[in-house]
C-alpha cells in the first residue's frame, strides 16, 4: 500500500499533508493539557502557600477553562461548575477535516492529472484514504480523551480547594476592590512641574 502511495505525484503529498493536518491539533491539545496541568499545580502550590490572591490572578489569566477554580478561590461554596472541553471539541473537528477534505480535493484534482498518470493517482488516493481515515479518527478521539481528562483535573483542583475551605472554615476573601477615589496619574507636564 505504501508503494502505491510513494508512486504518486498527487496522492502522496496530499496524504502527508492530511496526516500532518490531523496530527497538529492533537499536538496542540497535548500542549494545552500540559499547560493546564502545570497551571493547576502552580495554583494549588500558591493556595498551599497562602497566596490566594496571586492564585486568583493566575486562574483569571489562564482563561475560561480555569473558571471553576477561580470561582472556588473566590469563596463560592457551591459545586464546581462544569466546563465542557470546547477547545478540544474544536480541535477534534479540525483533526477530522483532512480525512474528508483531502479525498474530495484529490478527486477534483484528478481531472487535472495527465491521462498517463490517472491510474496510479487513483490508487494512491485510495491508499491515502485508507491511512488518513483511521489516523484522523484516532487523533480526534485522543483529543477528546485529553479534553475530558483536563476537565477532571480542573474539577479535582476545585474539590481540593473547596474541601480545604470546608475543613478550615477559612473562605478566601474576594480581590480587594478599589475604594474611594482612584489615585490620579500625573501627566508628563505635571510631573515636570
Amino acid at each position: 500500500m505504501f508503494g502505491l502511495l510513494l508512486d504518486s505525484d498527487l496522492g502522496f503529498p496530499l496524504a502527508v499533508a492530511g496526516a500532518v493536518a490531523s496530527l497538529v491539533p492533537l499536538l496542540i491539545a497535548i500542549l494545552l493539557f500540559r499547560a493546564r496541568i502545570a497551571t493547576v499545580e502552580r495554583l494549588l502550590q500558591l493556595v498551599d502557600d497562602g497566596n490566594s490572591h496571586e492564585a486568583r490572578v493566575l486562574a483569571r489569566s489562564a482563561g475560561g477553562g480555569m473558571r471553576p477554580v477561580l470561582e472556588a478561590l473566590s469563596g463560592a461554596s457551591t459545586a464546581p461548575s462544569s466546563t465542557p472541553p470546547v477547545k478540544e471539541l474544536f480541535l477534534a473537528v479540525l483533526s477530522l477535516l483532512p480525512a474528508i477534505a483531502v479525498p474530495i480535493y484529490a478527486s477534483t484534482a484528478l481531472a487535472r492529472a495527465s491521462a498517463e498518470r490517472i491510474g496510479p493517482e487513483i490508487s494512491a488516493i485510495l491508499a491515502g484514504a485508507a491511512i488518513l481515515a483511521p489516523l484522523a479518527m484516532i487523533a480526534a478521539t485522543a483529543i477528546l480523551q485529553i479534553g475530558l481528562r483536563a476537565t477532571r483535573v480542573v474539577r479535582a483542583a476545585c474539590v481540593t480547594i473547596l474541601a480545604r475551605q470546608a475543613r478550615t472554615g477559612d473562605t478566601p476573601k474576594r480581590d480587594p476592590k478599589p475604594s474611594g477615589e482612584m489615585p490620579k496619574i500625573k501627566t508628563r507636564d505635571e510631573a515636570k512641574q
Binding site: L4, S82, L126, A142, R152, A156, R167
Partner: protein
C-alpha cells in the same frame, strides 16, 4: 471480504462485555466492602487472620476505603475520615492512565474502520493492477478488461463503508455505555454513596457535619440545561443528516449505476413523434445531417425527399426526389460527416436502405443509425448514440473480423475461419449468444499487441424490420451486461454493408 467485519464485531463485543463487567465488578466490590466491614465491626472478632474489606477495591477507591475502614474499626469519630475518603475519591482521576485510554480508544477506532481500510487497500491494489494490465493495450481491449474490474473494486469500497458505518454505531454504543457507567463522576458518586451508606449502617447515630458539607459541595446542582442542550444538539444533528441525505440523493442514485460514461454530449437529434430503437449501444453522435424516415415520408434535414406509400418507397421516387440546394453540394458539405439515420422502428429496413443508397450515390456513404439510450442520470429526454454503418461497393475487401448475415428471423455469424453460427432472434438469450459469437471472432482476428479489429461486415439476406436490424448491430457493440442501461458507450464497431 467479510472477515474484517467479523473480527471487528468480536472485538467490539469483547469491549462491550469489558465495560459492563468493569461496572458490575466495581459495584459488587463496593457492596462487599460495606458488607464485610459491617460484619467485622459487629462481630468484633479480632482472633485469627481477617480479610481486608477493601481488597476488592482498586486504586483510589481502595485508598479511600482503607481510610474509612480504619476509623470505623477504631470506633473513633468518623467525620474527618469520611470527608478525607470522599475528597480522595473526588480528586482521583478514576480512570486508566491517559496513554492507556488513548491506546484503548485507538484500538477500537482501528477495529471499527478495519473493513473500510481493507476495502480501500483492495480497491487501490485492484485499480493499480487493472492499470498495469491495460498499459500499452489499445482502448477497446483496455475497455473490456477494466469493464468488470473497476466496478468490482469500487463495490468493495461501498460494502467496506457500510460495514464500518455499522461498526461505528457499535463503537458509539460502547462509548455511551462507558460514559453512563464508568465516567469518573459516576464512579465517584457511586463510591461516595456506598461510603455514606456504610457509615450510617455501622454507626447508627453518626454526626458528620464536615462530610455532609464536602458532599454537598461535590453534588452538582440539577439543571435543565444539559438536557436542553443535548436535545438541541440531537435535533441539529438530525436536521443536518436530512439535509445532507437530500443533497446527496442524486449522487447516491448515480452510484447505484455500476459504471457510467458521464460525458455524453448534450446533443440530441430531433425526432418528433418518432419512436427510435432503444438499445444499450452506440457511440456519441458526431456532426452530420439528419435523415428522418417516418411511416409517411422521408426527409433530409428539413427538406422532404418523398412520401411513402403503405410504408414503402414509391417506384421511381429517386428520380423526382427534391433536395434543393442542400443536395447540390451534398457530397462536398457532408465530407467527413456521418448522416444520422432516424427511422420508424416498424418500417422494413428496405426503406431506410433505399434512401441510404440514394445518398451513398451522391457522395455520403457513411451513416450513424441513431439509437435511444435510457441512462438513469440523463433524465426523461435521455441521450442518443449512433451505430456506425458504411455502404461499400459490392466486392470490396472490408478486412472484417466477422461477417454477419442478417435474415428477417435470424443472424448467421462467421469469422475468417471456423463454422458458421446461426442465432435465431426468438431463441432464449439470443443477444448474449450473438455478442459472444461476434466477440470471439474479433478476438481471434486481433493478435495480442496489435490494435483490435473492430470491422464487421453485414450482409442483408432478407430484410427484417428496421428495429430488428438495429438490434442485430447493437447487441455485439454493447458493453452493458444487465437489464438496465449502464450508460457506457458501445465498443465502436464499424459495420460495412456491401451493395
Amino acid at each position: 471480504m467479510s472477515w474484517p467485519l467479523y473480527v471487528a464485531l468480536a472485538v467490539e463485543l469483547l469491549a462491550l462485555i469489558a465495560v459492563i463487567a468493569t461496572w458490575v465488578i466495581e459495584r459488587n466490590a463496593l457492596a462487599s466492602f460495606c458488607g464485610e466491614l459491617l460484619r467485622q465491626v459487629e462481630s468484633r472478632d479480632n482472633v485469627g487472620p481477617r480479610k481486608d474489606p477493601a481488597h476488592h477495591l482498586r486504586g483510589s477507591l481502595r485508598e479511600a476505603g482503607t481510610t474509612l475502614e480504619r476509623a470505623l474499626k477504631a470506633g473513633r469519630e468518623v467525620d474527618e475520615s469520611l470527608a478525607e475518603a470522599v475528597t480522595t475519591v473526588a480528586t482521583a482521576p478514576l480512570r486508566a492512565s491517559l496513554v492507556w485510554s488513548i491506546v484503548f480508544d485507538a484500538l477500537l477506532v482501528l477495529v471499527a474502520l478495519l473493513p473500510l481500510i481493507f476495502a480501500l487497500e483492495k480497491a487501490a491494489i485492484d485499480v493499480a493492477s487493472i492499470w498495469n494490465a491495460t498499459r500499452g493495450v489499445d482502448w477497446p481491449r483496455a475497455y473490456l478488461k477494466s469493464l468488470d474490474g473497476i466496478p468490482a473494486a469500487f463495490s468493495s469500497v461501498r460494502s467496506g463503508f457500510a460495514s464500518s458505518a455499522l461498526l461505528i454505531v457499535g463503537l458509539f454504543v460502547i462509548w455511551v455505555l462507558r460514559w453512563l457507567l464508568l465516567r469518573p463522576e459516576m464512579r465517584e458518586a457511586r463510591a461516595v454513596k456506598a461510603f455514606l451508606s456504610c457509615v450510617t449502617r455501622v454507626q447508627k447515630d453518626v454526626v458528620a457535619p464536615l462530610s455532609i458539607k464536602v458532599v454537598q459541595i461535590l453534588a452538582r446542582p440539577r439543571t435543565i440545561w444539559p438536557g436542553l442542550w443535548s436535545s438541541l444538539a440531537f435535533m441539529a444533528a438530525s436536521a443536518s443528516a436530512v439535509v445532507v441525505l437530500n443533497a446527496a440523493a442524486d449522487l447516491r442514485r448515480q452510484n447505484t449505476v455500476p459504471l457510467t460514461f458521464a460525458s455524453w454530449p448534450d446533443f440530441n437529434v430531433r425526432a418528433d413523434r418518432l419512436s427510435l430503437p432503444a438499445y444499450f449501444a452506440g457511440s456519441k453522435l458526431g456532426r452530420g445531417p439528419s435523415l428522418i424516415i417516418t411511416q409517411e415520408s422521408a426527409q433530409i434535414g428539413s427538406t422532404k425527399m418523398t412520401a411513402l406509400e403503405a410504408g414503402k418507397l414509391p417506384a421511381g421516387w429517386d428520380l423526382g426526389a427534391q433536395l434543393g440546394d442542400s443536395l447540390d453540394n451534398f457530397a462536398t458539405t457532408t465530407s467527413g460527416w456521418r448522416v444520422h439515420v432516424l427511422a420508424h422502428r416498424e418500417l422494413s429496413f428496405e426503406v431506410p436502405l433505399g434512401v441510404m443508397k440514394f445518398l451513398r450515390d451522391r457522395g455520403a456513404p457513411r451513416f450513424q443509425l441513431v439509437v435511444q439510450r435510457r441512462i438513469p442520470f440523463a433524465g426523461e429526454r435521455g441521450v442518443q448514440a449512433g451505430l456506425q454503418l458504411e455502404l461499400v461497393p459490392s466486392g470490396t475487401n472490408t478486412n472484417a473480423a466477422a461477417v454477419m448475415r442478417v435474415f428477417d428471423d435470424r443472424v448467421v455469424v462467421r469469422g475468417s475461419s471456423g463454422p458458421e453460427r446461426s442465432i435465431s432472434f426468438g431463441a432464449p438469450r439470443w443477444a448474449e449468444t450473438l455478442r459472444g459469437a461476434v466477440r470471439d471472432h474479433l478476438a481471434a482476428a486481433s493478435p495480442a499487441g496489435s490494435p483490435m479489429n473492430l470491422r464487421v461486415e453485414v450482409r442483408l439476406e432478407r430484410a427484417p424490420t428496421y428495429d430488428r436490424f438495429v438490434a442485430a448491430l447493437a447487441v455485439p457493440d454493447s458493453v452493458c451486461s444487465g437489464e438496465a442501461d449502464c450508460g457506457l458507450p458501445g465498443l465502436g464497431l464499424q459495420y460495412f454493408l456491401p451493395l
